[in-house]
């Protein structure tokens, strides 16, 4: 394989705040890189073509489908998965609200759901329920009927706004 047509790419990125360097197959999806090469199995492969949202992670501050991005495209990026966000404690209130409001059942969608919600909450303000619905419309949950999820997000947004105002 010549350099011009190489099928492996060297990448350097940060994942959960740590420097990672790797040589990855050009076609390696970011979610597979995280799950298989780094052992970060929080984000899940659901539909693997960008519809269900189970693999959502945070790349350079944005919620991204891990199955629609190649690992090679993450060269130089800052990637956060649920494991790292948990360790940093930055969504502790959201996680607590999910537990308290029973906003999950089988839990398979939860890590992706939390990544999408983090993006919404990071925008600041208190989104109304319609905005929450709109923002999460790309994250499927087959179990809960979503009501508890919206409640949890709303509670956290209001609490954060209250804290900011105080």
């Amino acid at each position: 394989m010549t350099e011009a047509f190489r099928d492996r790419i060297d990448i350097a990125l940060t994942v959960n705040g740590e420097q990672v360097e790797a040589r990855v197959p050009a076609g390696r999806h970011l979610v597979d890189f995280l799950r298989l090469d780094l052992g970060l199995t929080g984000a899940h492969a659901g539909c693997e073509h960008g519809v269900c949202g189970a693999c959502t992670i945070q790349v350079d501050g944005q919620a991204v489908r891990g199955c629609l991005m190649l690992a090679a495209q993450a060269d130089g990026a800052e990637v956060w998965t649920l494991e790292g966000l948990t360790e940093q404690g930055v969504i502790r209130d959201l996680q607590d609200a999910f537990v308290a409001r029973n906003a999950l059942q089988c839990g398979y969608c939860t890590p992706g759901m939390l990544a999408s919600i983090k993006e919404l909450l990071d925008m600041g303000g208190v989104p109304d329920r319609a905005t929450i619905r709109e923002h999460l419309s790309g994250n499927y949950c087959r179990c809960t009927g979503y009501e508890a999820i919206i409640d949890a997000v709303e509670t956290v947004a209001q609490a954060r706004a209250g804290k900011g105002a105080a």
Binding site: R35, G39, L40, T41, G42, A43, H44, A45, G46, C47, E48, H49, V51, C52, A54, T81, L82, E83, T86, L94, Q95, F98, V99, A100, N102, L104, Q105, C106, G107, Y108, C109, T110, P111, L114, R129, I132, R133, E134, L136, S137, G138, N139, Y140, C141, R142, C143, T144, G145, Y146, E147, A148, I149, I150
Partner: protein
Amino acid sequence: MSVASPLPHDAARLHVTGQARYVDDIPLPAGTLHLAFGLSGVARGRITGMDLSAVRMAPGVVMVLTADDLPFANDVSPSAHDEPLLAAGAVHYIGQPVFAVVAQSHLAARRAARLGRIDYAEEAPILTIDQAQAANSRFEDGPRIYSKGDAPAAIAAAPHRVKGRFEVGGQEHFYLEGQAALALPQEGGDMVVHSSTQHPTEIQHKVAEALGVPMHAVRVEVRRMGGGFGGKESQGNALAVACAVAASMTGRPCKMRYDRDDDMVITGKRHDFRIDYVAGFDDAGRVLGVDFVHHVRCGWAQDLSLPVADRAMLHADNAYLLENARIESHRLKTNTQSATAFRGFGGPQGMVGIERVMDHIAHHLGRDPLEVRRANYYAEAAPAAGGAGGLSAPPFTPGERPPEDISGKKKQTTPYGMEVEDFILHAMTDRLATEAGYDARRQAVAAWNAAQPVLKRGLALTPVKFGISFTLTHLNQAGALVHVYQDGSVHMNHGGTEMGQGLFQKVAQVAAARFGLDVGAVKITATDTGKVPNTSATAASSGSDLNGMAVKAACDTIRDRMAAHLAERFGNDDITFADGCVHIGQDHTLTFAQAAQSAYAARVSLSATGFYATPKVEWDRIKGQGRPFFYFAYGAALTEVVIDTLTGETRILRADLLHDAGASLNPALDIGQIEGGYVQGAGWLTMEELVWDTKGQLRTHAPSTYKIPAVSDRPAVFNVGLWEGANREDTIYRSKAVGEPPFMLGISALMAISDAVAACGPGYPALDAPATPERILAAVRRVRDGI
């Protein structure tokens, strides 16, 4: 007390931190191999040749298996032995596994699986109900018929009649976690299998047959599934068996997970039905006689189709007393995926049939559909005498509608001869209609529709009466294994599996309550065929009913032994377990840990099994007579929708649900089941559409083309309440099963759409399901034309 507390899901903290482990998350031993199936490209035919050389040569491929390579049984069916793991000579649907690739990576296996060349002698496939009827392609020798009274005579003599045909689509489970299995070969030919399955014992059984070993050589473990909904009752067999065979042949761990497209193309779905009905009724809309013919599209293999179709027949009455009813059920064999269990297991299809009839009758008479429904309800149960057996209904308050006393009268029975003793829907309907403002909203909807030319609103309140128990009576059993360690911590295991429904937490709450402990003292452990054998699938909503009772029995055995020991030690047999302590009379209190240590030191066994078999059930499925169900679970839902008559689009504006979970073991988990069940049920009837082309190819094989409800599709206003009332039967803490029944609350969404369409003109909407925008538009046109 831990029971009845709204505790969160036991794994909630693991889920929100990404630590909860599914099969695909289990760290793999070095050298693990990965499997993918090569699939049939035609719906029906004989395999005349196979060239798999390109598959074998593909990068990373270690082995390719065909039916001829399998050492023992080539069968992954749950019972009928008609479902080969790999096609043997003939193919029966597009997507049927024909060969298995074993490769060094998941991707290598999938890529190689596409390289197989299979030659077929194609035959004309039987795809539709019409084609199957014409070819008499069916399971069983003819239709099953259950009947009561004389339906044809009653219909003929009735003052009014409606008849119609109702097509009800199937449904893809779309569990977020696809099917997955991992087989780990052990010494001496033993096999350990991790499987995403609702039925570990069946996996064990099928793997043992495929490896030619006794069941004791196979151990299956299931910690959790990422959703099941019935789709993992039998559909995981193929992956587990393929992995075990490949692991046995290579000596290496083998793993398989379907990617989403393969999952949807290979696995079975909810049965679609055609329901033909004729009903005769009086001026008040009371049904005098009704005749149903169910045409059930079962797919290519029998799987669980017979009990599914039976359960549809058993719910053809729903909440209505039918003195003259006849239900005929044809189980049709087609060259499509083998339709399988899906939440409700045929019950929803049977129930939506009679709800359609109620809707049609009301339209015919120009009456409010709720009035017609109530006119046909079974009589309300009287409170049980002397409190024996507990109450399903709340105490009767004078001044309200008196519950009809049915004592001394003819017993009210279902069309299959079971007496309905616990009916509470009169009171539930009253409460829901009052609290949700049915009458005022009915008027508001009428006023809106009179004023608005384009957007039409609709309203419907529908009841649910769902039978609880496996109709195959012997499945109504469960086992448990409980250990108390000398530090007072408890290890709990039972045959039920966790798929998100909260079973493990509910049963842990039972165990904690028996020992007077905090639920945190009870360790919840993975379902394991080596700990509890011969289990039934976690299905039929029975998980907490059966396993809760089995765990209770095991805990009580240990508790009694501990109590006997302490009574002897302290010379006092007044012993209570509460608040983490054991109290012996007034004078002595030990912590539970001290009590356990004391019992251990006195050589008292602190480990026990528990067992439970549901009482009272007996059923003859051929005659259609008996008591298939221990009890009924009830619910009612009021849904309001709006449709756009120019585009056919629809929105659920509001849903008010009231559901009966008996004395709930955990109200938080139960409400979660009810909300999720409703949304899934409404999805089935409004947007989830499966489309096969004329060659039998499933064209909706991914979420890009198959639409499940997203958060934006749920009702904008969503009120969910639990009915407060204990189960009349002696279930675990008088609770009721809650997994499936709320699914059918979603029927109210379809009926509300029918109501909205009916506002467009004089005709009856006769809306098929799912009520997609296309179907709604067509129905609006029919209604305007007065057809």
